[in-house]
Point group: C2
Chain length 211, copies 2
């Protein structure tokens, strides 16, 4: 799908210089991703770098036994440092990326990503800023995993999800949460019940309300 220039310009106003916007409109591919769609799996080769326009994408680290650990979310105007890394080095993906909700993005071919770093100061800035943000995100993930207990991590995850969707009730299964926290479903079920007893959440099938 061709990108609507007006839309692009309004979105990236101030972020990118005009010539870059023109090129973006020309070579970028506009995509809409449905909720739950897996954009990227470990081992896949990456040929493009996404910039998220709206919606959100969760980035997970997967281990060999099939367990996952949530690293961070990508939201509006975010890009993915993994893609950058992999693109610039022609390497395989090290992570899993899943659309948390319906997500719109622009996909930029790898050659341009590299070319623009030299060509456009604003793109270089953007790439650096992306690395830095993801770095912070990873440190945040490590804080959670290394120093917090599961119940705290659970609560914090629920809060993030709530923030993400902008509402206190959201659709999620215990199984899915267990995946993101690299533990088992039973453990999450029990901790959620505990939180419910404490009056922090309200549970129903496929749904959690944060209080």
């Amino acid at each position: 799908m061709q990108i609507d220039k007006e839309f692009l310009y309004s979105r990236f106003n101030g972020l990118f210089e005009l010539n870059l916007l023109k090129e973006l409109a020309q070579v970028g591919t506009y995509m809409e991703i449905e909720e739950g769609h897996v954009l990227m799996r470990p081992g896949a080769y990456i040929r493009s770098v996404p910039i998220i326009l709206s919606g959100s994408i969760k980035i997970l680290r997967s281990d060999s036994d099939g367990r996952d650990a949530l690293l961070y979310y990508l939201g509006g105007m975010d890009s993915c440092a993994m893609s950058l890394t992999c693109c610039l080095n022609r390497r395989q993906s090290e992570i899993t990326a899943v659309a948390e909700e319906k997500t719109k993005l622009i996909s930029i071919p790898v050659e341009k990503v590299e070319e623009w770093v030299t060509k456009y100061a604003s793109w270089k800035q953007f790439v650096f800023a992306t690395y830095q943000k993801r770095f912070d995100d990873l440190l945040g993930a490590i804080d959670q995993i290394a120093f917090r207990k599961l119940d705290e991590r659970l609560l914090s995850l629920l809060q993030r999800k709530s923030k993400q969707c902008g509402c206190s009730v959201f659709t999620v299964t215990h199984e899915e949460i267990a995946g993101e926290l690299a533990t088992s479903r039973e453990v999450i079920s029990r901790l959620l019940k505990q939180l419910e007893k404490l009056g922090r959440v309200k549970l129903s099938r496929n749904k959690i309300e944060l209080i």
Copy 2:
């Protein structure tokens, strides 16, 4: 201390272009860091980016309760992405850096770090490569912390330490290890005893031999 040009040139041969090497020699500060010296603490402002010439530096994430988690080691020709991030954004350090052994490095003032990214292609490449390496390191740290049990993590840490110093016997206390794995000394003592029973290590005061 002034940097010996010949030394620099031999070290960075092929990595940096000639003009960059000249500037490096001019504005870089050569430093020797003693083992155990803390180069950086959370909250400190960072005014320079180090490039490690020899020796090694361990990078730890510290939480508010004083616990630490080992993130990764910096070795020869490595630089620190945290410093880069912090420098480029004039932010405070988010990590702790401690010399694991006697370490020689060049320290580069923050203004130059930024200037050179535009000025020298080889420096830009170096900065990107640094981000990418540290990114991989962080993912590795997350793998360990999220998916491995303590005994595995302990063994893997011992192996890294052994590799680092290039010998099978190295000087370390249980307390120090506990710090790096964000757990308590007793736990490490017990796991080490277990490993000793399995014939994987030999223990003595302040020393561990990996078998």
